[in-house]
């Protein structure tokens, strides 16, 4: 029908192609390699040996082919090594190549024999034919035997400078191979520098291979500053980009993506030169180009015409990727998922290409569904819903479930569509397909949370399906609905009672929910349900060994028995609405992933450091800031600053339910019940308290890269949180500091209130001496000592770098791991002169924790005093302070003592002020000076403190004046919203109270999540 299909006929008559293809398969099959597999097992090796040593060239080659064939199917033919190597000296290129193939496979197991081949290799490297030269150097690099690699250096050096570009490009790759075998050798021989020079080679293919080799070396060896990109090299790369092969283009584009342009003009000019790659037939080239553009776009001003043009140009190539093979589609979809989260405007009109086709593989279907929801908006919701309804009737269970969930997400995301979504879900429930019904009930519960008092009319329909629910999540959701709307369901007590029968067989999720629901029911209809509530409380507290369930049971029990009114307020409190977007990737992570578009990280939606083996040095990539907004050190979260409208991140469906469950618990902190006396109550409060402390102490442990995975084991708060006994001791009024406070972890606290040392010192900010952070022993001769100080509103890290090694150190750079307060170096580490042995220098630099030089990368952790984070405008208004103070529930306080402090209250106040801890008020009660103080952290969190100073007693019985400091964390929260706080695996939701616009509310939690609070604040 087409030219291609008819061409064979035509061409066999008209012209004689140089390489005719496949004229006769039948005949051909007789001549094929399959005959090599049919040799008899018996004496096979012996036969081959004889043939290999034959005088006839032809027979030799046939024999080598048989050997190779056996090798490819995994037979062991290593015994023939000497015989095969003997065939190497030949002018027949095919025979030579076959022998090389054999060598590469078996040299490792026969290193002594392999050495026999070296002479031939070295000779071949001098051959006049560039193909042979290249082949020799290429093969030598593949023989992973130390003895051979030694001989490789000289030929390789020559080949790197060969006149023929084909040889040069092969040699470039060989450097990477050699580095993989023996990195030290490559460095000692100076091959890395030669490789760097090849970036400026005149041949684009050589440039591409040099870039590929350097990138690979840099990945396994992050300290070497190999790809030192500057405008000149960038220009060379861009020129080579136009001329090299498709694979070379990928290497070059990936390398370009690591560059940070100096300004928006450079950024634009690079974008302009990269854009044509979007029309390449190779999808990997397209996606790498998309990565470069997505990254450099960040620097372009939004009002620029070019910015809009670029946005428009990005959509078609992404759509085209979706018409490729399913495997390519899958990777493309995972990346598009990231792109639509970062820049939804690119694909907002392309909804239809994500519609699922019947014969798409399941992994493509699921990804498409995800993107459909992300792109759903008021404009296209009708279409989307019609599609989703269609999907919900398909065969594949996973896909159907996800489609039903998607309908619920649409309802929550697009308010106008909620009604239609609910009626669609009801239709689906009518199908009575078991798993559809269960999914529908789970999502309807979320819809109730989002739009209370709107769709409760459907409850009757839901209740009809009660019996068919067999999955915990669906059961829990249904129970929640029954409990929440107990007053509208006539037989709510019967329904819940029916669940209660098999209480112990239920999962924890269902048990907790059932407990809460019955308590709610009791508070709503106390008369009929007394027996029921008794029953569930006893089941939960006495017959269960699940601590969560028991604790919650006790709390309810005490609440109900001590103060039913308070109980009502607590349990039936109005719930915050759930947010519209679910499953969003955290903004900072999203930024990092955008920098990794097209890589495995983008498929897994995890940073490479989280999964790539041996990537200890993988650096966290960040998007460049937009034009003009230089990042200052004090910007608490540069990531959030770059995002225009940072979306609130709330956990996905499963977590939401967990939140729901715990919702009923936490109002204890906001409604202000009388101080709890029972153990059950205290537990709850202690959890919150220790959370706060945990974070306070946790921040003294600014996550050092090597430690970041397990900081909680070293922080004080972690201990307290995990140990109720200690927590209880802590709650007791002015106790002395628990012993563990003196643990190394609390050094920062000591620093902060270490007033004693300051008697003879001039008034000034806390100025501790430098400490050795990285001993020379651990860092191949580089010793780093330093200290953190706050000067003129800027946090600074002063470091002394001392070279105690014998050789000169150069190429210094510094990087910080991500940390709670978003501290980052303001500028690169500027050490202009190489560091000679025993020389030390003191650059003034701003803050923290991986230092590299020409030798290696070194990691160390150092604590910075928390006082450094206190900002200058931390002085609270008196009135605000007063109101805030009153609003803090007592159990949010923590106290400890400072010993050996010889200051009077004024001196203490002055000293604290110099560290940006401001005294708001002072009063004297019974000979005690009370100082009320406020401070504010760089991330906007307020800390209020009360300092009690006993006037100096002339007869010191104890040589210490005890100062009691009440310190607590509070956060001024401007939004009525709920915050998720994670404690290890459990999550808590701490709520707001209604009037929080006027009175600040208090959040205790891990610092990680205080970042989230920051996002709310900006909103």
């Amino acid at each position: 029908d087409t030219w291609i299909s008819t061409q064979k006929k035509i061409h066999s008559q008209l012209s004689l192609p140089v390489y005719p293809l496949q004229e006769n398969r039948q005949f051909g099959s007789k001549m094929t390699d399959s005959k090599y597999f049919t040799t008899t097992k018996k004496g096979e090796i012996f036969e081959l040996k004889a043939e290999l040593n034959s005088d006839k060239k032809e027979k030799k080659k046939e024999a080598v082919k048989k050997v190779i064939a056996s090798m490819t199917v995994g037979k062991d033919v290593s015994a023939l090594f000497p015989d095969v190597v003997n065939c190497m000296q030949t002018d027949n290129l095919e025979l030579k190549k076959l022998v090389y193939l054999y060598l590469m496979n078996y040299a490792k197991s026969q290193p002594d024999m392999a050495i026999m081949a070296v002479n031939t290799f070295v000779k071949d490297c001098e051959d006049p034919n560039p193909l042979i030269r290249a082949l020799a150097v290429r093969t030598m690099g593949c023989i992973r035997v130390d003895k051979i690699t030694e001989y490789l250096c000289e030929p390789l050096r020559k080949c790197l400078k060969d006149e023929d570009p084909y040889v040069r490009k092969t040699a470039a790759v060989c450097v990477a191979k050699l580095h993989d075998i023996n990195a030290q050798l490559v460095e000692d021989q100076g091959f890395l520098d030669t490789l760097k020079d090849l970036i400026s080679d005149s041949n684009p293919m050589v440039v591409a291979n040099a870039v590929a080799a350097l990138s690979e070396i840099a990945e396994s060896h992050p300290n070497s500053n190999l790809l030192d990109l500057n405008p000149q090299t960038i220009n060379k790369l861009l020129t080579a980009l136009n001329e090299c092969t498709e694979w070379g283009q990928i290497f070059i584009l990936d390398c370009l993506a690591n560059y940070t342009p100096r300004d928006d003009r450079e950024s634009q000019s690079i974008c302009e030169r990269v854009t044509p790659r979007l029309s390449h037939a190779n999808s990997a080239v397209v996606l790498s180009a998309v990565k470069v553009l997505m990254k450099f776009m960040e620097m372009l001003p939004k009002d620029l015409d070019y910015y809009g043009t670029l946005l428009k140009k990005l959509a078609p190539p992404l759509v085209t990727l979706l018409s490729a093979e399913p495997e390519l589609q899958y990777v493309a979809l995972r990346n598009i998922n990231l792109i639509v989260q970062r820049r939804p405007e690119i694909l907002k009109h392309e909804m239809k290409v994500f519609f699922v086709k019947y014969n798409d593989p399941i992994y493509v279907k699921l990804e498409k569904l995800d993107i459909m929801i992300r792109l759903a908006s008021q404009a296209n919701i009708a279409q989307v819903l019609a599609e989703l309804k269609e999907y919900a009737t398909e065969v594949d269970v996973d896909f159907v479930r996800k489609a039903v969930r998607a309908i619920g997400r649409c309802a929550i995301k697009v308010e106008q569509s909620a009604e239609r979504c609910v009626s669609t879900l009801l239709d689906l429930i009518q199908t009575k397909v078991n798993y559809v019904v269960q999914e529908a009930i789970v999502v309807i519960k979320d819809i109730f949370r989002k739009y209370p008092n709107k769709y409760e009319s459907v409850i009757a329909t839901l209740c009809e399906n009660l019996d068919s629910l067999d999955e915990p999540e669906a059961r829990a959701a249904m129970i929640w609905i029954v409990g929440e709307y107990a007053e509208r369901i006539d037989n709510a007590d019967e329904l819940l009672e029916s669940f209660l029968e098999g209480f112990h067989d239920e999962s924890t999720q269902v048990q907790l929910q059932l407990l809460t629901a019955i308590v709610k029911l009791f508070l709503k209809k106390p008369t009929e349900t007394q027996e029921l509530v008794q029953q569930v409380l006893s089941l939960a507290t006495q017959d269960s060994d699940n601590p969560d369930l028991r604790d919650r049971g006790y709390i309810y029990w005490r609440l109900l028995s001590t103060d039913p009114v308070a109980a009502k307020e607590v349990v039936l409190a109005e719930k915050p609405l759930i947010s519209e977007e679910t499953d969003l990737i955290e903004p900072t992570l999203l930024e990092e992933l955008i920098c990794h578009i097209g890589t495995l990280a983008s498929v897994y939606h995890k940073p490479p450091s989280a999964f790539v083996e041996g990537s200890r040095g993988v650096q966290h990539k960040r998007l460049p800031g937009s034009a003009g907004s230089g990042e200052s050190v004090e910007s608490p979260d540069p990531g959030a600053a770059a995002t225009e409208t940072p979306p609130a991140v709330i956990p996905s469906q499963g977590d939401l339910l967990g939140d729901l469950l715990n919702l009923d618990l936490t109002p204890t902190t906001t409604t202000g019940p009388p101080p709890p006396t029972t153990s059950g109550m205290q537990m709850g409060a202690m959890d919150l308290l220790s959370g706060g402390l945990d974070s306070l102490v946790g921040l003294l442990h600014q996550g050092p890269p090597s430690l970041s995975a397990s900081p909680s084991t070293t922080t004080l708060g972690g201990d307290i949180g995990g140990n109720p006994a200690m927590g209880a001791a802590f709650g007791a009024a002015p106790a002395t500091m628990p012993a563990s406070f003196n643990a190394p972890g609390s050094g920062g606290l000591d620093d902060l209130f270490d007033l004693g040392g300051g008697v003879g010192m001039p008034m000034g900010a806390l100025n501790p001496p430098k400490a050795v952070w990285l001993p020379a022993m651990k860092a191949k001769g580089l010793e780093i000592s330093g200290v953190f100080v706050r000067r003129a509103g800027v946090i600074q890290m002063e470091m002394t770098l001392t070279n105690k090694a014998m050789s000169v150190m150069t190429d210094f750079a510094i990087q910080f791991n991500r940390n709670s307060f978003g501290l980052a170096p303001a500028g690169p580490l500027q050490i202009l002169t190489p560091l000679s042995p025993n020389q030390s220098i003191e650059p003034l630099n701003n803050l923290q924790v991986a230092v590299k030089n020409n030798i290696d990368v070194f990691y160390f952790s150092c604590q910075y005093p928390i006082s450094m984070l206190f900002v200058e405008d931390g002085k609270m208004e008196r009135q605000v302070f007063l109101a805030t103070w009153k609003d803090i529930p007592n159990d949010n306080e923590s106290q400890f003592q400072i010993k050996d402090c010889h200051l009077n209250s004024d001196a203490a106040s002055n000293k604290l002020q110099s560290s940006n801890i401001f005294t708001i008020a002072k009063r004297t009660v019974e000979g005690q000076d009370m100082l009320y103080q406020s401070m504010k952290l760089t991330n906007g969190i307020w800390v209020l403190a009360e300092l009690r100073v006993q006037a100096g007693n002339p007869n010191y019985t104890v040589s210490s004046v005890a100062l009691a400091v009440r310190s607590l964390l509070c956060c001024v929260l401007l939004l009525t919203s709920c915050i998720s706080v994670y404690f290890e695996d459990q999550h808590f939701v701490l709520i707001h109270n209604q009037s929080c616009l006027n009175s600040p509310t208090f959040i205790l939690g891990r610092w990680k999540y205080l970042m989230v609070i920051q996002v709310y604040r900006k909103h």
């Binding site: 029908d1 051909g28 199917v73 690979e216 037939a281 019947y358 009737t393």
Partner: protein
């Protein structure tokens, strides 16, 4: 980059392995087998799998799995593209890409793989470069070789394309008859809902070229209506700047067959469907049976005949048999796969084909929940459904007059009608 390659057949045997760096044990494939076990259909195995130390990136082509092992943070698209390229080359060399053919040519395959990748970096992936280095198996050479006894499958000079900035073309090409033919092939992807409304429709187009021209010809292909093409991807030979400024394809072609460009006409431009389908498939609540009634008619064919028309229906599992009458063509119902295929052939606009009759269900089975979906196959010769037309082909750089020609073909891609 790419560490190793395993070729795995349909039943899960590894029949070839190749390592470009150190040797990785076959046992790494166990993770893949596990995933394959879980996925019911081989098509549904996820293409990227994570194992404790490696990544497995797989494609499924011609009932074979090409499984590559990656150890570092490599771009998966790069790997997938490369694997498809390997399969393409096998296809090109051996005429098909199957287990038996690969086994028959295992040494050539091995030589090819060695030549395509060095240390995990692609080395030569252009078919014409490879063919200069490793000759494809041909009967002619086999005969010559057996006679003379001095044969070699391997070229001993550096392929000319390897280093020039047109790597896709070799020097010194000679033909007695010079020809340049182009096929414009368009596939319609569409979803039509129950009521007959088009939910979405788009066209995936491709221009396949078959160019056999002597020397270094420089071609320019221009279109009557290039405005249709706003979403294109080109073979590396196409000069992008010329396309941007003149909307014409200017290129020095590779020798032989190649894909010149792919394009995509999206749903924003109105895509007209060539046929309509009237269907009703229903199952009765009362008894274990249902009814089926399908009619296909022409819609937008620009006077051309619709050929090779075929309707494929994946029936619900409960459907035991079908008792139908077709006014044209024949139907088959495969009990095992539950697929009903109605092969219609040419569509006659005067007498619309119809398939009608009853379906019987397993006794006692509940009424099926899922609605079957119809997949349509069709072909229309001499028409590109998007309306794209080539206006002319010019040649520069060489003196002779080549034969030229363009053919058009429209096919159904993923053309689906919901019920």
């Amino acid at each position: 980059m790419i560490h190793s390659l395993f070729l795995i057949n349909h039943s899960g045997d590894i029949f070839l392995e190749k390592h470009w760096k150190s040797v990785i044990s076959r046992s790494v494939c166990d993770y893949f087998f596990e995933a394959k076990e879980k996925a019911a259909e081989p098509e549904n195995v996820a293409p990227v799998l994570q194992t404790p130390h490696h990544y497995l990136i797989t494609i499924y082509r011609g009932k074979l799995f090409f499984l590559s092992v990656v150890q570092t943070e490599a771009p998966p698209l790069f790997v997938i593209e490369f694997l498809h390229r390997v399969a393409d080359i096998f296809q090109d060399y051996f005429g098909e890409c199957s287990e038996s053919v690969i086994k028959d040519n295992v040494v050539t395959v091995y030589e090819l793989l060695e030549e395509m990748l060095d240390n995990g970096f692609p080395l030569a992936t252009e078919s014409n470069v490879l063919k200069e280095m490793i000759r494809p198996p041909t009967i002619l050479r086999s005969v010559v070789n057996t006679l003379t006894g001095t044969w070699s499958n391997v070229g001993d000079t550096l392929p000319t394309g390897q280093l020039s900035n047109i790597p896709w073309r070799r020097a010194g090409v000679k033909y007695t008859n010079n020809e340049a033919y182009f096929d414009v092939i368009e596939e319609i992807d569409a979803i039509v809902d129950k009521s007959g409304t088009t939910v979405c429709a788009e066209i995936q187009g491709v221009i396949e070229a078959c160019v056999r021209l002597t020397g270094m010809p420089d071609l320019t292909l221009s279109f009557m209506n290039p405005r249709l093409l706003d979403d294109v991807s080109f073979h590396p030979c196409v000069r992008f700047k010329r396309w941007e400024s003149e909307r014409a394809l200017s290129f020095i072609p590779p020798d032989g067959n190649f894909t010149l460009m792919n394009y995509h006409v999206s749903s924003q431009n109105l895509v007209a469907l060539p046929v309509y389908v009237k269907q009703s498939i229903s199952f009765f609540d009362s008894g274990p049976c249902g009814r089926l009634d399908i009619t296909v008619g022409p819609k937008q064919t620009m006077g051309k005949t619709v050929e090779a028309l075929m309707v494929t229906i994946h029936m619900p599992k409960a459907v035991l048999s079908a008792n139908l009458t077709a006014t044209q063509g024949s139907y088959t119902y495969d009990l095992a796969t539950k697929v009903l295929v109605w092969d219609i052939g040419k569509l006659n606009p005067q007498k619309l084909p119809n398939l009608k009759g009853s379906l019987s269900l397993q006794a006692g089975a509940p009424k099926p929940e899922d609605n079957p979906s119809l997949n349509i196959d069709l072909k229309i010769q001499q028409m590109a459904i998007s309306g794209l037309k080539v206006s002319r082909l010019e040649m520069f750089g060489e003196k002779y007059k080549p034969f030229k020609g363009v053919k058009y073909l429209t096919k159904a891609g993923k053309f689906q009608v919901r019920t």
